[in-house]
């Protein structure tokens, strides 16, 4: 089935973990007739919501992997990309955001804007995703959509505009008033599937009129046409829709919808909003890097007849083999056509092309630009670009943060060893922030990731999906080393052992670099070091950087300047200069006042105000620096900077300190200097390790 690009929507549903995102998605699928029965999260009926396809997710009641599903609403084709809410799985979110054209930001009408909402919103901002807000759970005790709307303005800086008001709240929630049509809507039938339109109840009319004025005031700022119409008292529904759409796409305003997914209220109106206000793929500008033009950005055309450009944004090991989710940015993909993977430089043929619903699929013959579909049996990694052969474009590389934590793992038995290897291969392909390697010193497999929970989930998945039992070591922080002082070096490498000798001399300096990890400056004049040996010097220094001399972690923030040197017509070689550079680095580094750096995390703790003291105390004990605390009635949030090394097990501590009522999120902020005592401890440990290694 072909869809006009103007009737296509690629949307994400982003939210704080408990705001009812999965329930909302479930209802959307139901009303779009994708599923025939509603299941609840943590399934009371034992089935679980349809979008959570992994057992683990079902058990924890959270969504980890982003499944995508296609639905039809009001003659429009909507691809929903279910984005995970927990910050530990940031890369999954970021990758999903990349392929979205718009998003629904779900908020809890009681909890409002919480720290994860802020994180998710910041990510949406980074990818310039237009959004509409949905205030969920109006049926809950303490529901206050007006407060949440104010928080959208104050805490997130959105120009939030209420498009609706509730009819009744909490257990009295009966329906929704739409401020554009000025009608009341009720949701009848056992699952709220029958929509009844009525006049606004008399008691609410005054309030509705006032809120409509407010709405028109804000919306008309985005459209001169509407402004004039409002002044002349002839603002039609169409004009309002047009203005809201314009304002939403330019991200000047955020229309706010509301309802209760659990009570089946307001979802259909939200879907109307998605179709009306969120952009279609042609409204959004996409760019790719032109490899033939030094990687300059080039605009893509949302034109099905143009050459194909598609991005593989998600791999999944399904029950039917490997699935590759792709977003087509330009051109079309047909079953049986040939595509080229620009990273692996390989051609492949499109075998099966499918449209996905969380756990079921539909075979299709063709898909056009703007669409999100999946391919079967394609050998690739996530983030790869597929193009029509001959085209040399690649989608910009997705921003991948460096892992901050590592853990040694060992298979519990021989059978598990193979399975573990298989699982690791899969996970590292799926998730670029998850890495694994074998430590040559200890011969242990090390996995690296973005946080404790991130690694925990993969270890769980190894057990469940691959039946690989693994033993884990203690989590290890990814330290770095850096220098403080500029030092000069002058090092000669000379070797005469019969046959061809080796000779190289390098003179220059090491100095701290404020921005960036490494810079190599070549100042050698007059061929004192022949040109062909300069890259070898660079390589030699880079080898030295891989392992600092304090605790064996990589050295960052350093500039190496090569000023002078000496060579020998016969004995100088690439190897000689590389060795000389390594020697120079080894000699100069200790004089440059090296120090140990550790990852500092930005930590946000949220919970009832009564526990603020405990939270302050727990951060203080962890060498943390509190930046701010915000109290809003009974609810408080503390933002702090805390070394990652001190954050292990914090979730357990926090739970017991606050009777499970507080929660925290963290993300990498920067590298900071390790205090003297801790540095000494780390160095002593490293020496011990070296001694052990030597005595082996």
């Amino acid at each position: 089935m072909k869809t006009d690009i103007a009737k296509m929507r690629n949307i994400g549903i982003s939210a704080h973990i408990d705001s009812g995102k999965t329930t909302l998605t479930e209802r959307i699928l139901f009303y779009c007739k994708k599923i025939h029965k509603i299941h609840e999260v943590k399934g009371k009926d034992g089935v679980g919501a349809t979008m959570d396809s992994m057992d683990l997710e079902r058990e924890r009641g959270i969504t980890i992997a982003s499944a995508t599903t296609n639905v039809q609403w009001a003659d429009h084709s909507i691809n929903i990309i279910d984005t995970p809410g927990h910050v530990d799985f940031t890369i999954e979110v970021e990758r999903s955001l990349r392929v979205l054209d718009g998003a629904v930001l779900v908020l809890c009408s009681v909890g409002g804007v919480q720290s994860q909402t802020i994180t998710v919103d910041r990510q949406l901002k980074r990818y310039r995703v237009p959004r509409i807000a949905f205030i969920n759970k109006l049926d809950r005790t303490g529901a206050n959509p007006y407060k949440v709307k104010d928080q959208l303005v104050e805490k997130l800086g959105h120009n939030a505009v209420l498009m609706q008001i509730p009819i009744g709240l909490e257990s009295n929630l009966r329906g929704i008033v739409d401020l554009t049509s000025m009608k009341a809507y009720y949701f009848d039938g056992p699952d709220g599937e029958i929509i009844r339109e009525e006049e606004i109840p008399f008691g609410l009319l005054e309030e509705a009129r006032r809120k409509r004025e407010e709405m028109l005031d804000s919306v008309s700022m985005a459209s001169d046409e509407l402004m004039t119409a409002v002044l002349e008292d002839r603002a039609t529904e169409d004009l309002i829709h047009k203005a809201v759409r314009k304002g939403t796409i330019s991200r000047e305003l955020t229309p706010v919808f509301m309802g209760s997914a659990y009570k089946n209220k307001g979802i259909q109106l939200l879907l109307d909003g998605v179709v009306r206000y969120l952009p279609d793929p042609s409204d959004v500008e996409s760019t790719a890097l032109d490899l033939e033009n030094e990687g300059h950005e080039t605009k893509l055309k949302a034109d099905p007849s143009a050459p194909t450009v598609a991005l593989a944004f998600k791999l999944e090991d399904g029950p039917y083999g490997q699935l590759t989710y792709i977003r087509i940015y330009q051109g079309r993909i047909q079953k049986g056509s040939e595509l080229f993977n620009n990273r692996s430089r390989q051609r492949f043929k499109v075998g099966r092309l499918v449209r996905m619903h969380a756990d079921s699929m539909e075979d299709i013959q063709e898909a056009e630009c703007g669409d999100i579909v999946a391919l079967f049996g394609i050998e690739c990694a996530s983030g790869d670009t597929f193009v029509t052969p001959g085209l040399n474009l690649t989608m910009t590389s997705i921003y991948v943060p460096e892992p901050v934590i590592s853990l040694a793992i060992n298979p519990a038995d021989n059978a598990s060893a193979d399975r573990m290897a298989k699982a690791l291969l899969r996970f590292t392909k799926e998730d670029p922030t998850f890495r694994s390697y074998v430590d040559p010193e200890s011969n242990e497999t090390i996995i690296q990731g973005m946080g404790e929970l991130h690694l925990d989930v993969y270890i769980e998945r190894m057990k469940r999906e691959y039946r690989a039992e693994v033993l884990t070591g203690k989590p290890q922080v990814a330290y770095r080393e850096a220098i403080v002082r500029k030092v000069d070096f002058d090092y000669t490498h000379k070797k005469q052992t019969g046959g061809a000798g080796q000779f190289a001399r390098v003179i220059g300096s090491l100095e701290p670099l404020a921005k960036g990890n490494y810079e190599f400056v070549n100042n050698v004049k007059g061929g004192r070091i022949p040109k062909e040996f300069i890259p070898a010097c660079d390589r030699g220094f880079q080898t030295g950087l891989k392992k600092g001399q304090l605790i064996g972690f990589p050295v960052i923030g350093i500039r190496v300047t090569l000023d002078d040197g000496q060579s020998h017509p016969v004995d100088s070689s690439d190897l000689a200069f590389q060795t000389a550079a390594q020697g120079a680095f080894r000699q100069a580094y200790p004089k440059a006042k090296p120090q140990i750096l550790e990852p500092i995390m930005k930590v946000s703790v949220e919970g009832p105000t009564e526990f603020a003291g405990h939270v302050f105390g727990s951060i203080n004990q962890r060498r943390g620096v509190i930046a701010s605390s915000i109290e809003d009635g009974t609810f408080s949030r503390v933002d702090a900077e805390v070394p990652l090394a001190e954050m292990f097990g914090y979730s357990t501590v926090l739970r017991s300190l606050t009777q499970g009522k507080a929660e925290f999120t963290m993300e990498f902020l920067k590298y900071g200097r390790v205090p003297g005592q801790v540095a000494e401890f780390l160095m002593a440990k490293q020496q011990e390790k070296r001694k052990k290694g030597a005595s082996k």
């Binding site: 105000t609 003291g613 930046a627 915000i630 933002d639």
Partner: protein, 241 residues
């Protein structure tokens, strides 16, 4: 210029001299003016002066967003370093972050008792040895002298000095003939140092109205630089461009 020299030459030293050696522990200082005259800038300047001396400060705000307050500090530090040729502002930046905590309260929801409880939790459980509290945005119309008295008791008990800003509302005249804002008459007994900020022929003048029940010896020769929003000595008139 080295740090100590900046501190010594700061106009805040003039202020301290005029109020007989500074605000002092257990005392309440108030900067009063209409909205938008520069109270927050003054408070942040006073706080930054402490922070440059590595003295911890808690900045309590009743209204503004945290990032907005942080921007104030960054701006004031930037202006200070420009003016004084301080080496790199970034050097002090870390010290400032380490010694500053911003606590934000929504006054509708936060009673003075609750604010003080949270402050105490920060100082004691958070082990944050503040000696200055900056309180911006306290509503002197909604609040009562009793609130300020509680702050004062708290300050005395924990050895803190507390600077408030008071936003003056209503029609002119705002001040009586002694320069005390009518709005603050009820509060005068609990306030130790009172400074009024007033627009006068294009500059903002800082007038010392009360100083520890001692006679206000001479005019506080300070003004607010309209360009940098820093407190400046009143001697040289502002440069016009």
């Amino acid at each position: 210029m080295v740090n100590t020299e900046i501190i010594q030459r700061s106009p805040i030293r003039n202020l301290e001299k005029s109020i007989h050696g500074g605000l002092g522990k257990g005392n309440i200082g108030v900067l009063a003016s209409r909205k938008g005259v520069g109270k927050t800038a003054c408070l942040v300047h006073i706080a930054t002066d402490k922070l440059l001396q590595k003295r911890p400060v808690i900045h309590v705000s009743y209204a503004s967003r945290v990032d907005y307050i942080i921007t104030w500090y960054e701006e004031i530090l930037k202006e200070l370093s420009k003016k004084k040729g301080m080496k790199a502002a970034s050097e002090f930046h870390d010290d400032i972050i380490k010694n500053r905590v911003i606590m934000n309260f929504n006054q509708d929801g936060a009673k003075t008792e609750q604010v003080l409880r949270s402050l105490e939790a920060m100082i004691i459980h958070g082990n944050f040895a503040a000696d200055t509290i900056i309180v911006d945005g306290f509503d002197f119309v909604q609040g009562t002298p009793e609130d300020i008295r509680k702050f004062k008791e708290f300050a005395a008990r924990l050895g803190l000095e507390v600077w408030f800003s008071a936003s003056l509302k209503g029609d002119d005249p705002l001040f009586d003939d002694k320069g005390v804002a009518f709005m603050l008459h009820n509060y005068l007994g609990t306030i130790d140092v009172l400074i009024s900020l007033r627009h006068e022929s294009g500059i903002v003048r800082l007038d010392l109205v009360k100083a520890h029940d001692l006679p206000v010896s001479d005019k506080l020769r300070l003004r607010l630089d309209p360009k940098t929003l820093l407190i400046a000595k009143a001697g040289n008139p502002p440069v016009r461009e």
